[in-house]
């Protein structure tokens, strides 16, 4: 396969799944003719028709709510919410219905649906276009949350998410949409999957474990370059699925390195890094050489573009965090 951006990988995965399974339908604002504001759904309506790739009215609860009904009645809807900051009107549908329909019906009715949405800072956008509030959703029983950081992961995880028997929130880092090109190892038919709930070791190392997900994985890799100049070699774990997390991968690495820094783009308080920090404390305290450090954004509204650089972790802040656990 030719090299693709993360965004193109998503588009190709959608094409592949729609071609493979006629029960897959796409719905959202501007996903049809326009192909999505980022072009993630480009070409789908032309190929699969307006009945399966639907431009919906501008209503997030309506999009997710009708997708719930469709999923109950045998389809596999993939919804696009234009930006993560606009998902909140649909929270009632996600939390009170999609994620608990299986429980409420004792397995009779299920919601195999995917909600895709771009998230995070880095595209110099307006207010409400830079959120990274995955924790609201991680806190929801019955919902899976996935965040890819590479093109091949985006493809393999999205295919798995569409085939998953339960609802999946699929967060796409806008910052990485077109940041690089990478080969996606699909076979002749287009098949390539990555199991949900499995982390990926991006880089092996001995000195410290850097745990992250989404756009922050790239920042960790840049921090590792700074650290390498000082002969410090962190191990980088990309969680890929942030709910449920790959506990084994985290603990295995931390037991090896004895130190952990968790890096998240989300606001600090009650982010996933807090959960991971508690997990390590409960299950690997005796292996630790230093307390776990969290490098996070702040408990403030994401600033407008000119001041955006204050907000999220950058390579230097991550470098500093690693130094801190090493010097403890």
């Amino acid at each position: 396969m030719v090299k693709t951006t993360l965004l193109e990988a998503i588009n190709k995965a959608l094409h592949y799944e729609m071609g493979r399974d006629s029960s897959v339908v796409m719905l959202g604002e501007d996903v049809g003719k326009e192909g999505g504001v980022f072009r993630a759904t480009e070409g789908l309506q032309q190929k699969y028709g307006a009945e399966r790739v639907v431009d919906t009215p501008l209503a997030e609860a309506g999009i997710v709510g009708s997708a719930i009904g469709m999923a109950i009645n045998g389809l596999r809807p993939v919804c696009e919410i234009q930006f993560f900051g606009f998902i909140y009107p649909a929270m009632n549908q996600i939390i009170n219905h999609a994620s608990r329909m299986r429980t409420r019906s004792r397995g009779l009715y299920t919601c195999p649906l995917v909600i895709r949405t771009p998230y995070g800072i880095g595209i110099k956008a307006l207010e409400h276009h830079s959120e990274s509030t995955e924790s609201y959703f991680i806190h929801t029983p019955g919902l899976k949350v996935v965040i890819p950081s590479t093109a091949s992961d985006a493809y393999g995880l999205l295919v798995s998410a569409i085939r998953d028997p339960d609802p999946v929130l699929f967060l796409e880092p806008t910052k990485l949409y077109r940041a690089f090109k990478e080969e996606v190892p699909i076979d002749k038919s287009g098949e390539y999957t990555i199991p949900l709930g499995k982390a990926r070791t991006m880089q092996e190392g001995m000195d410290c474990t850097l745990i992250s997900w989404g756009a922050m994985v790239k920042e960790c890799e840049k921090a590792a370059e700074l650290l390498a100049k000082e002969e410090i070699f962190p191990e980088i774990i990309d969680l890929r699925t942030v709910s449920p997390i790959d506990t084994d991968a985290i603990l295995k690495s931390v037991k090896k390195t004895g130190r952990a820094v968790v890096v998240q783009e989300a606001p600090r308080t009650l982010g996933l890094s807090s959960e991971i920090s508690a997990l390590i404390m409960e299950k690997a305290m005796m292996d630790l050489q230093a307390p776990v450090i969290r490098v996070t954004s702040f408990d403030i509204v994401p600033p407008l573009p000119k001041a955006e650089h204050y907000y999220a972790p950058d390579p230097y802040r991550i470098y500093r965090g690693v130094k801190k656990v090493l010097e403890y």
Binding site: S66, G69, R106, L108, K144, P244
Partner: protein
């Protein structure tokens, strides 16, 4: 002008209401009488009486602490006739005051008791009923009926979906999104609004400034009709028209069934605090069960002997359902964990193991 559809004859914008049988059980619009055989009428009556008996029993059980809070259907039993207009394979998306009509669709009475006794096992619904679980967040479920119906349309199936909601639900944003999606997508869905005048303590006049609730459908581009919701003939005729029209590609349809709840919103409130007894009395004169009984008596197909026999039969059914429910073991630890996902996640497996261990330890401590 010649109108063939009921919604053309009864203009919701002009506050015209479809009524076929008056409060005394007399047919006032013979021309609009739907085709229902004497057997059909007896069946509808049976489910209405069963619904009422089940409800009264549940109220007693709740007062005795044997059942939790629930929303009585008392006074709104004509809903049964709407479910009677459906076909096998059609979907029902209820709110939480529809247990009388779910019986028509094959829901075992036991499920009602189990669920409101707080037993998860009550949520195990027979597959072919196609009834969605009770939905408590008001107004959030009609959109599911829209999605279900829309999917039927995409799959070229001839099934329709009907959703039930109250007058209060029409104030929720998600209700309006559901109406809008239904209209735009021309989904084969029926909105059946039971306007029972009260959303807990808040009267219908505070929910909306519209003259009728039915007229809201006009703005969304599909028909809406207001009907006497305590007249089973009006209920059946309107629902039948809606269902047939949707099944034949006509799209959505809104029915405002004007009715009244005789009891409280749920067992947790006291309606004497917020509404006038005179109003309750007015509506009791329009009781849907009594009206159908009068009609059948006038027709000569129902007498006191049959009534007595039916009440005995219904009581037995209720007693049996309650007995079975109370005998049903409570949900196990596995049961409360295992339906979170298709497959237990490692985290949930760990939490479940922990809870089982704790339960065992507690048991061992009390046995000492």
């Amino acid at each position: 002008m010649f109108f063939t559809m009921l919604y053309d004859k009864f203009d919701s914008l002009k506050e015209q209401q479809l009524q076929i049988m008056d409060k005394d059980g007399k047919i006032i619009r013979k021309d609009l009488m739907p085709k229902l055989s004497n057997d059909d009428l007896k069946k509808i009556y049976y489910y209405m009486v069963l619904g009422r008996a089940a409800d009264q029993k549940a109220m007693n059980l709740q007062r005795q602490g044997r059942m939790g809070t629930f929303a009585p259907v008392y006074g709104q039993e004509a809903q049964v006739a709407s479910a009677y207009a459906l076909q096998q394979g059609d979907w029902v998306v209820p709110a939480f005051r529809e247990h009388a009509l779910t019986l028509v669709r094959g829901m075992p009475l036991k499920n009602f008791y189990l669920y409101y006794m707080g037993n998860e096992i009550g949520s195990v619904v027979p597959e072919d009923t196609r009834i969605l679980p009770v939905s408590v967040p008001v107004g959030s479920h009609p959109i599911h009926a829209v999605g279900i119906a829309w999917a039927s349309k995409i799959k070229k199936e001839k099934t329709v979906a009907i959703t039930y909601l109250g007058d209060g639900a029409t104030s929720e944003g998600e209700f309006h999104e559901a109406m809008n999606f239904a209209g735009v997508m021309k989904a084969p869905v029926i909105f059946y609004c039971q306007n029972n005048h009260w959303a807990i303590s808040v009267p219908r006049s505070i929910q909306t400034a519209s003259k009728t609730i039915a007229q809201k459908a006009v703005a969304y581009g599909f028909p809406g009709i207001q009907i006497d919701g305590n007249d089973i003939f009006a209920v059946y005729a309107a629902t039948k028209e809606a269902v047939d029209r949707a099944r034949n590609g006509g799209g959505p349809y809104f029915i405002e069934a004007v009715t009244y709840r005789f009891g409280p919103h749920t067992t947790a409130d006291d309606p004497t605090k917020y509404r006038d007894e005179k109003e309750v009395e007015y509506w009791k004169q329009r009781c849907p069960v009594m009206r159908l009984r009068k009609y059948m008596a006038n027709l000569g197909i129902w007498d006191d002997k049959q009534e007595k026999k039916l009440l005995e039969k219904v009581d037995k059914e209720v007693e049996k359902a309650v007995e079975e429910s109370e005998k049903t073991p409570i949900a196990t630890v596995d049961n409360v964990f295992d339906y979170t996902f298709a497959q237990l996640t490692p985290q949930l497996a760990e939490q479940k193991t922990y809870l089982k261990k704790v339960q065992d330890e507690k048991k061992a401590r009390t046995q000492k």
